[in-house]
Amino acid sequence: MKALFIDNFDFTYSLADEFEKKGCEVLVYRNDADLRVIDAAIKKFKPSLIVVSGSGSIKNSGNSSEIISAYHGKIPIFGIGVGHHCIISLFGGKMDKAPEAIFGKMPKITHDGKTIFKKIENPFQAGMHSLMVGSDIPYVLEVSARNENDAVMAVRHKEHFVEGVQFNPESILTPAGSQIIDNLLGEIKK
């Protein structure tokens, strides 16, 4: 399987490593790479998945939203951190400051047990490195996980293969992260 990563700087390579460990071929571009270059790379590389990951704010996420917008429905999309924020924002949701600083912390996350959360302990512990969380989640997305403060921790598109997670599956604080990626790859193979 091939995965194309859009790096929003920091926390992308641990994730790419996790995919490589599972036999995936990965190709990483920065969020400021020319869109035509990304389009050409997608045409040539033929990824089965586009991963948009990293930390920071949407305003610094370069071409992340445009790529999600252009390829959702055509290629499965997995958004982590700011990638997840881009998914929520693109489909009409909002971003708010987290009620408390959650970076470097490990909240308990409760999930719906579907797709990427199949057979994952419920609730489970995860690490995250962001100060923003999604709100006003639009109808086209369903909330697939929340933390103990009811903040949105994951979303899923109702029609297309688009999954977003607030937490960092690759973090040293997320023991279930590897299984979540296994589930993601399993869903794509279906």
Partner: protein, 511 residues
């Protein structure tokens, strides 16, 4: 040894060395370097080793796009001849008898990140020199090679960031090729004087004899008297900073806004403090060492004297396996008071949730950075949340390990892991460049050693004091995170520079 040299191929490097009785490295350095006054003298002192050289053969410096490789000895001139034609990848190059000068604009292309790692920049100039000679033998680590400083601003080789308003006119890197040096291994209680044979032609016996001569000349210095210490008339102490209090608080507020907007999670702002000094630079080094009880470095070059402490950062093994490891240093508490109190501080280090959260984030960052250059699946944490006890302090640390990808080397690893001033690294670096007035230069850069066989050690330069002319330039730092108070940032910058200021005062010559 002579036989080995005679059999060595042209282009080989072989360390000729002599074990000597264990010596006081600092005293020996003082004798060899005329109390640290001689140009091109370098001393690195860690808990494990002291490394010193006072007559390196080459000096490599670069600033922005320009670079210069200058011969400092006859061996250096031979080295330069041997390098002729090796810089065709540069935009411009002039090969002279005593120097190679050139220009290389770091390449920027719309490519994948794996390809970006291999784009040409000034790390390739360092590579060309470091790996020109192939080691025919490597009896121990640090037998010779490139040693010096990479500034914090070396990041400009890889990233397009805004420029600071002011610049001390420092080079972005200043490295020496140490062909002759002495190394004291404190743990093994061994000391060596080393002179490397750089085989550039068939006159191998002559090369060997020159090495023996260099060793003998170094040995003679052991019995020399210490250089005389100069007397200084007392002067009043004067100190200013590039950022006044009100402005620093404003900057801290702006950074906090960036945190609330989700741009960054934290950043460490710095200001430059400019003081006078009126003492032997090496006495300032000794005072700072006494205060910090830390790993230390001292370097004297044409651009000034740089001294400070070292926080170990990255270690790469040049052998076939290419194992590498990064050390993440966390919060610090006092130590060596009494065992029970030491235990209490140790527990505090290990259960303080704020510090643990911060340290965990740094572990994740290091895991990420290393994954960029590591073989898939090789990156893992070696040690997590351990405490290291030093004579006057203990600190939290973790180690992340990996195996470098086969076609990458230590400088690629350094480019991925180099020191950071905030999280996320690039966003924080971009924001700090907008607000910090003066280029950080060597402060928060790296002191490193790169051997011809690829072994590499680097440590973050902290508590730096840059002596230029009659001025001392220090850096005060304040960490800004979501729960910090901007109004206390000024005091934090003052406090962080206090030990350096004390060292300057205690060295004497000031009222």
């Amino acid at each position: 040894m002579l036989e080995k040299i005679k059999n060595a191929k042209i282009g080989s490097i072989l360390p000729v060395y002599e074990a000597i009785e264990n010596i006081d490295a600092e005293e020996f350095f003082i004798k060899l370097s005329n109390y640290g006054r001689d140009r091109n003298s370098v001393l690195i002192q860690t808990e494990e080793k002291s490394i010193c050289s006072v007559n390196p053969c080459l000096k490599i410096t670069g600033k922005n796009e320009e670079f210069e490789i200058k011969a400092l000895s006859n061996t250096g001139r031979k080295f330069l001849q041997f390098l002729k034609g090796d810089f065709k990848f540069c935009d411009k190059v002039e090969y002279g008898k005593n120097a190679i000068k050139g220009r290389l604009k770091p390449s920027r292309r719309n490519v994948s990140e794996d390809q970006r790692l291999r784009l040409k920049n000034h790390a390739d100039i360092l590579r060309a020199v470091a790996f020109k000679f192939k080691p025919a033998m490597a009896p121990f680590r640090h037998y010779g090679g490139l040693c010096g400083m990479l500034s914090y601003d070396f990041i400009d080789q890889f990233e397009d960031l805004p420029k600071n308003m002011q610049d001390l006119n420092e080079p972005d890197y200043e490295m020496y090729f140490l062909d002759s040096l002495f190394v004291v291994n404190h743990k093994e209680n061994k000391a060596y004087i080393i002179a490397n044979a750089l085989i550039t032609d068939e006159k191998k016996e002559k090369c060997y004899n020159e090495c023996l001569k260099a060793i003998e000349s170094c040995k003679k210095a052991i019995s020399k008297k210490n250089p005389k210490i100069r007397k200084y008339k007392k002067k009043p102490f004067q100190v200013t900073a590039d950022t006044p209090k009100e402005e620093l608080v404003q900057i801290a507020n702006k950074i906090k806004n960036h945190i609330f907007e989700g741009d960054i999670s934290q950043a460490s702002i710095s200001k430059m403090i400019i003081a006078n000094y009126n003492a032997e630079p090496f006495d300032i080094f000794r005072q700072l060492k006494q205060i910090l009880k830390a790993d230390m470095f001292y370097a004297n070059s044409e651009t000034g004297i740089l001294l400070g402490s070292l926080n170990s950062n990255l270690r790469v093994s040049g052998n076939e396996e290419k194992a590498f490891e990064a050390t993440i240093i966390g919060a610090e508490k006092p130590s060596s008071i009494n065992r029970d109190l030491d235990n209490k501080y140790e527990v505090e280090l290990k259960i303080n949730s704020r510090e643990i959260a911060k340290h965990t984030m740094l572990i994740d960052l290091a895991r990420n950075d290393m994954a960029k250059v590591a073989k898939a699946g090789s990156r893992h944490a070696g040690l997590l949340y351990h405490t290291e006890k030093r004579p006057n302090r203990q600190y939290l640390f973790s180690v992340v390990k990996g195996i470098l990808k086969q076609d990458l080397d230590a400088l690629h690893a350094y480019s991925a892991i180099m020191s950071q001033a905030g999280i996320p690294k690039m966003a924080a670096a971009r924001i700090l460049r907008q607000y910090e007035k003066t280029k950080r230069g060597f402060h928060n850069g790296a002191v490193c050693f790169l051997s011809p066989d690829g072994d590499f050690d680097s440590a973050v330069a902290a508590n730096t004091i840059r002596l230029k002319g009659n001025k001392a330039y220090l850096m005060g730092e304040a960490n800004v995170s979501s729960d910090s108070k901007p109004e206390s940032a000024f005091q934090e910058t003052e406090d962080s520079a206090r030990k350096c200021v004390d060292a300057i005062k205690l060295a004497g010559g000031l009222k």
